[in-house]
Symmetry: D3
Amino acid sequence: MVDLDDLVKSALAEDLGRGDLTSRAVIAPDVRCRATALAKAAGVVSGLIPFSRTFTEVDASVVVELLVEDGDEVEEGTELAHVSGPARSVLAAERVALNFLGHLSGVATLTRRYVRECEGTGSAILCTRKTLPGLRALEREAVGHGGGRLHRAGLDDGILIKDNHVRLAGGVAEAVSRAKENAPHTLRIEVEVETLDQLEEALSAGSDVVLLDNADLDTVKRAVEVVDGRAPLEVSGGVRLEDVADLASAGDVLISVGRLTHSAPALDVSLELEG
Amino acid sequence: MVDLDDLVKSALAEDLGRGDLTSRAVIAPDVRCRATALAKAAGVVSGLIPFSRTFTEVDASVVVELLVEDGDEVEEGTELAHVSGPARSVLAAERVALNFLGHLSGVATLTRRYVRECEGTGSAILCTRKTLPGLRALEREAVGHGGGRLHRAGLDDGILIKDNHVRLAGGVAEAVSRAKENAPHTLRIEVEVETLDQLEEALSAGSDVVLLDNADLDTVKRAVEVVDGRAPLEVSGGVRLEDVADLASAGDVLISVGRLTHSAPALDVSLELEG
Amino acid sequence: MVDLDDLVKSALAEDLGRGDLTSRAVIAPDVRCRATALAKAAGVVSGLIPFSRTFTEVDASVVVELLVEDGDEVEEGTELAHVSGPARSVLAAERVALNFLGHLSGVATLTRRYVRECEGTGSAILCTRKTLPGLRALEREAVGHGGGRLHRAGLDDGILIKDNHVRLAGGVAEAVSRAKENAPHTLRIEVEVETLDQLEEALSAGSDVVLLDNADLDTVKRAVEVVDGRAPLEVSGGVRLEDVADLASAGDVLISVGRLTHSAPALDVSLELEG
Amino acid sequence: MVDLDDLVKSALAEDLGRGDLTSRAVIAPDVRCRATALAKAAGVVSGLIPFSRTFTEVDASVVVELLVEDGDEVEEGTELAHVSGPARSVLAAERVALNFLGHLSGVATLTRRYVRECEGTGSAILCTRKTLPGLRALEREAVGHGGGRLHRAGLDDGILIKDNHVRLAGGVAEAVSRAKENAPHTLRIEVEVETLDQLEEALSAGSDVVLLDNADLDTVKRAVEVVDGRAPLEVSGGVRLEDVADLASAGDVLISVGRLTHSAPALDVSLELEG
Amino acid sequence: MVDLDDLVKSALAEDLGRGDLTSRAVIAPDVRCRATALAKAAGVVSGLIPFSRTFTEVDASVVVELLVEDGDEVEEGTELAHVSGPARSVLAAERVALNFLGHLSGVATLTRRYVRECEGTGSAILCTRKTLPGLRALEREAVGHGGGRLHRAGLDDGILIKDNHVRLAGGVAEAVSRAKENAPHTLRIEVEVETLDQLEEALSAGSDVVLLDNADLDTVKRAVEVVDGRAPLEVSGGVRLEDVADLASAGDVLISVGRLTHSAPALDVSLELEG
Amino acid sequence: MVDLDDLVKSALAEDLGRGDLTSRAVIAPDVRCRATALAKAAGVVSGLIPFSRTFTEVDASVVVELLVEDGDEVEEGTELAHVSGPARSVLAAERVALNFLGHLSGVATLTRRYVRECEGTGSAILCTRKTLPGLRALEREAVGHGGGRLHRAGLDDGILIKDNHVRLAGGVAEAVSRAKENAPHTLRIEVEVETLDQLEEALSAGSDVVLLDNADLDTVKRAVEVVDGRAPLEVSGGVRLEDVADLASAGDVLISVGRLTHSAPALDVSLELEG
């Protein structure tokens, strides 16, 4: 939560610099206004907290009344929030507040689309570490608002042995064995494999979870059979929205999708002044 | 430049937290590696400096050799950089470095597509303040690498009277007049209008630049005639790639495009270990 | 506004260090006091906000009641504010609060003297970037309280081509031409010249504003004729208080004065304990 | 020393903001230059370290060669330093570097004038806590360069019982007695008095040092007699340059002067481009 | 006080990182709880302020009701505070809050034991600069709560010439003489000696205080005679609890004890959930 | 690693404040010295990196030559490091550097004693979150140097359901079940129990690890039988050095010990000037 304050402050600093010259020149200091945040397209809302915090950071007297909740699915034209207060303050915060809301709602909206494709299966959608610099915590919450599940938050809260680790360690079994020896007892060991042979090697070495990267649908199906419930199976690798339903039906898999966070188009949101 | 260091540090803090548990568990501290950053799709490169800085911030002994320059157009499979050093350090920085490079190259690539559509006209593509929180300076550079032009960087380095200001001030002429009276003599006055009448009112009131928002192609053409060279004319409002050529040909206009920065999909880049 | 908090905190840290040893040793923790800030000389007040903030930063329970406003002209002996609260807190903040108030009122007072000399003319007094490190924003406000106008706030919110730029660019016309090509469309181009020939060259090259540096009164008068309303004319260079009236009468010029901020003597202010 | 870096960075941030627009627009990135810092008036130099650090903070490749030392007395026209490096970097740092040098040399110069007046006596000039917010450490060094002596640096490294403390404690003797009981054994007790009676009371109560505030010359002379070597005697209160010689000759006193730091006019310094 | 906030924030950041995974997984967000902090051993309490601040820093809605005061001597089983609020917030802050309280109460408790041994003598117990990095201010307060007296807080608020200084200066007399010449007039001069000859040398040179290091009881007694009230005498050097009474009775000495802060075992404190 | 720099800087700031008055007064700026860090008692070394960094942070020209490594067991009198450089710099850093080294070596030394008692068994010693505020990362390394194993580093990198969580969740089984549902797939679930019934309940509910708190030796032995290799078993609760051997022999258990970090007495280390 401390982080959010810092993030909002730094986003405001980036935009405001030494202050809003236009409002100072054009609007008298005592003018007040009331405005409404609108969704100009359908989607899933996320980012209401940084949206709201941006206004109150600029001016604690601005009042933001939220009309929906993070995670809500809204139609085009839905009113998301009312904002009222000194006009200079509202206008100074407007752009940054919308930048948060538009991006995070974009992430939630794309996630929801992927999640919809998994409905009725035992599979789940996960985010990855392919996030935009500085925005990971918020983007992870947006994925949650969209219905996705979380993966580890960083390099320090999970063991995921990737292909590069495997290569440097000299093989899947050796890498898993080292991890079991050195990792804290509180963490599971997950290892990335690219073939079914490696998958079997990983399980034999005692890996707790296996990640199958860049496999086609058939390979995933055969991997599900190989694993046979011995461990959770994660799949990844450029998973497109049109392919996710088939993948989700191939077995109970964890599907991790980088584009949820690195390529989600913004949801179109705006702030309309009343009166 | 100070900002870049802070940004890189905070992006690393976000990912590394208390350190890379996997590498510590699996890779011996004295193992070294050499890797290559690859473009896995065609595009325009941007972000080589934060990419490089991320590695050296983690470990000053990592050497990054850049093989292309920001702004270069590359084919799928192009090698972008060599990275060599202690394996733990290279792997600790990999994801954050790629997150910078992928996003910024995505922005540059999309910008270049828009710019291409304007070639041979007197029109130009500009970015807006619709940037992702914390990343504005880098995204603006990426727009430059893509061939776009810059608008004001924030609320404090330009006067742009938007529709909300006009409403609060009581009209275009009144708003322009106040701005001329109060703004520093070093700044031009730009005002946003929505109709040709307002456009004429803005010019009469002495506005130095006019921004026509959300106008259709015909209106833009007529606006060009109305302005008749008296001031630069900027147009904006959800400009799609397929429409930009016509717009650019409607006259010498400044076309500002929010999606360059808020909705550009990442360019697919990866780091391949050698040997 | 964030900046002000940081500035107050750092000024307090500078003075308080690990705490006020004298008050701790001499005054019981529950003693309260009431004090009055006095102007011990006539002048223009500025800095009431940092003055007030310094007390509340030390102890949020201290109450500061302002009796005048920034920009007010006061006589010797005028009461400026009442301060009441725990005595240890009031005394801990006293010196830093007065240091802000004395310096900024000094700047406002000197500015007012210059501004008085321009009354009845179309000329104005401007501040420069010759400010004391860390204090620019406050000093600029103090200039405003004194009746002065603002110039650009820093290197990033205006284009002012100085003599050194002209030399490195290879001449006035070339420098102006480059600036017109590269600068954002939101900024005017101002160029510094030293002769009337250069002035003409600047205007021909399309400079929006011209700064004439270190010229004598006659040259300024001739410059006004040369410009003939084509662009604003700024003059600068060690302008003394005794010369400013003549300069202001030479035509409608912008007179920028470094000593407003770098050499204004402090206004004598003190805090008197009541009872 | 950490402090200096922070101070230089924040002074640069204040001036540079998002960067030097003019140099970027007008000067090619590979142009280099060489410049000379000049004293345009006679004075005592101080601030060479922050001057130099400002350039290298902007760009570590800029080379600053100092031609004089802090504390040196220079004539008008003296060359103080050579600066060479990328032109954009030199020009970006110029103003901030000169702002440091001009202000601090102004403090040193004024201090030297006061010190000169004491030559041949046993009296000394001291600075006070009436410094400009954020600049105390540098201003104290400047006072040292001018030949002044230092007082306590803040509220936490000395015991100085001022008039307000005396009033709240209920008298000089009571205040001194409390201080002797509560202060660390490493500190002397100094108390401010306004009359000779109080002075005697202070000494009787065991004060280690006495400060006589706002006394006329005769009173100071009599105070010297009263003290009679039992303790150091400090005098303060609007001491003007024209009065200091008499004061210094009244006995061996410590003369503290607020205007050394709060009202010293800047020394005129500039940076001249060569070639 | 600013420091305390930073310290609490950084201690929380250290423990919370990206948040409390267990509470998030196991406890619903709207569950509230009430808990009691207990002393599980007898001792002297210190650290109630950072204890309390830790909870409110995590969540301003948590209410901490203190049942004892810093400096109170408590029995095993004493209730120290009630804490109530959202369960997730209380549990997130618990460990850090207890870490402060346990350590600081440990310091106060050990100090009190030493102080008890001095009762009825004119001697006092002092802390040293042998504190744990980052915790000095709090540990010094804990020493005060235990009844100890304070020494200088750092290298900048006192003159203490240690054996290494003496060696580098070329002797006790020379070192004292330099200090008298160069130190501000507000500070006493203290010098560390190891023999009675050095002690006499120190006093003759005008040292205001003498520190006798690592002397046995007899030497201390003789030192008291040598000093004969001419100056305060401090003794130090691995003073054990069982030896302090004899030392305190040897004369009126200041006994400084490093282990008060560097080796005090924590007081056992815990937080018990009610209901 | 960034953290270490910040920690060293803040520990130095705490001690140095505005600078070392004694060295400035007594030692000429050009005096150099050479000193040796000595262990004045036997123990295990830890903290050489912060020790060394403290000197170079004060002055990059100070050279520290390490003579032992972290984790080395040393006899009384062992030379640990040579330090040479400007005398003022060495003395300014001395105390803080030793404070790090003494405390961390104390932690490593105590840990080694506990670890010794487990030799020849399958049990291990672990640290806890009962660390001193701000010092956790260094203390955890010190535990590693002593031969201990690590537990989770904070609340965000592991799931440990404590008694308070169990109570609020309504029982062991319910708490474990919630954790399995909500926690990331990368983490094991550990739950604290107090009875053998709860232990069985935890295993049945699918807990991956069980922590038995405050049990006597017999209960631990029976717990080992109950668990029978189904999951790792951790034991905790005021484990004294004299009891640890029996505990370690009761079965293969993880023994977590708070006093390693919250109550380890400092190792006596000093810096002796040569010559």
